[in-house]
Symmetry: C2
Subunit: 283 residues, 2 copies
């Protein structure tokens, strides 16, 4: 029987743990608090903002939602972030991107202090991911993948992991995090020759191809653990991942569904990072 790796279950366990940690911090008079910074009113951002707010409320983490007009100047945006950097009551800053075209993404994202970069978008956090040092935070999505593996007690060390995709948001950080955990990691992408053969060799597959239902049964074999990071709408108008779930579920040992998989864990990881940022202040 294929095991369904339930994001809901992982998030619930994580939230419970976070609640306890938040209570423990309250005893030390520390109250973890997140600030979100949104420019304009893109629907995806609003939806993620709502999700994060709800998750924060559930575990007792404070949240401040800052909304700036679409035509905000870069200077005003930087001032906002600098104010949040300086505000000791804020432990994490989530900046929604992409930013409007008149704003320089690199300047703005790097203005967030690494200690509060709970979504891993600054160069400092990326250095931490690349070198394996404890600087800043990893992006939430690859961390959500590790949370799922850990929750289900799936060993990573010494196993063959294949990461499909080489983005800075999922593929590359996932690869670095798996290497740190002593997996043997292969990174595949659009230019990979005979990708099905490469992916079939993996014990653990993290799929972040960015193409709806790209990965069918020809890529898979018995005994594999498949984490599907994709979130797409298929031709039938239904939410789907980068994996053909119906095909995969008959073949592999364990798989995350879409929806209800990796994406479900992401906001809990975000809140976890806020709590972690608050804890680091105690050091």
């Amino acid at each position: 029987m294929t095991r369904i790796l339930s994001g809901k279950e992982v998030a619930a366990a994580l939230n419970l743990r976070l609640k306890e940690e938040v209570q423990a911090l309250a005893n030390e008079h520390i109250f973890p608090r997140l600030a979100t910074v949104r420019v304009g009113a893109r629907e995806d951002d609003i939806s993620y903002e709502k999700g994060a707010s709800k998750r924060c409320a559930n575990v007792g983490v404070g949240i401040e939602n800052i909304v700036l007009p679409e035509d905000v100047t870069q200077e005003e945006l930087l001032n906002t972030i600098n104010r949040l950097n300086a505000d000791d009551s804020i432990h994490g800053i989530l900046l929604f991107r992409p930013l409007p075209g008149h704003i320089d993404d690199k300047t703005v994202r790097n203005s967030i202090s690494a200690e509060k970069d709970i979504d891993g978008i600054t160069d400092r956090s990326m250095i931490g991911i690349y070198t394996g040092e404890d600087i800043g935070f990893p992006p939430c999505t690859p961390q959500a993948c590790l949370e799922i593996l850990d929750h289900y007690g799936i060993e990573v060390a010494g196993r063959n992991a294949v990461v499909i995709g080489r983005s800075l948001v999922v593929g590359k950080p996932a690869a670095m995090m798996l290497i740190k955990r002593n997996a043997t990691v292969t990174i595949c992408h659009t230019r990979t020759a005979d990708m099905p053969a490469v992916v079939r060799r993996a014990d653990i597959v993290i799929v972040s191809a960015g193409r709806a239902e790209l990965i069918g049964k020809e890529y898979l074999r018995e005994g594999q653990i498949v984490l599907d990071v994709g979130i797409n709408v298929n031709d039938a108008g239904k939410l789907c991942g980068d994996v053909k779930y119906d095909e995969a579920v008959d073949v592999v040992e364990a798989i995350t569904p879409v929806p209800g998989g990796v994406g479900t864990v992401t906001t809990s990881v975000l809140v976890k990072h806020v709590v972690e940022a608050a804890k680091r202040r105690l050091r």
Copy 2:
């Protein structure tokens, strides 16, 4: 017949090209110049300094060898680097490491301006390597591997590359550079299970295991390209790589010898980076 990938030949071709570029820059009144910074008198450093000086002289690149006493203060060392950062006649700075224990490595290496970081030791250069952006420079050794592949017209895109080792000096940057070149890259290390099987699947193998003659014929097959980054002294007191050369040479399609392979190209790459740094100023 196995092809011997001669570092000497690659370096000679590279030096010739650099000579021409240096002459072209002279016509624009630009004279590339390297500064080396050595603390103390470690034999390895002195030998590399000599090699770099000779290579610079050969292609017409200027060099300034700065030597500081073993007990130099961190402040004095930082002052030296800051002076070199500010000096427009210097295009590249090579800092020998490890530094003495009383000096903070991270602070000092990151004091080098990314534009002059021709050995890729600053966080800025590492960000460039990780993200694939054109910031700073890659470390010289993985770049030497690419120079060898390019010189011999060995295609990288779409092929399976295995990198043995996950250091920041060779393994990780090599992996990132190969991914940028569209190879499918697997990173192996001491915790890899059944490494022979993993390595046998590679078309291109970059070996940076740091163990003398670790890789024997059981890791190899026909048709492979093997770049041996290791430099060790074996039990017989002879210089050797991380690959059992005598075994490998009967099996693979092409291999770098040790000595006379990757290491031979490194100082030419260093000088290439100095010339490149000078050219970037023209942009």
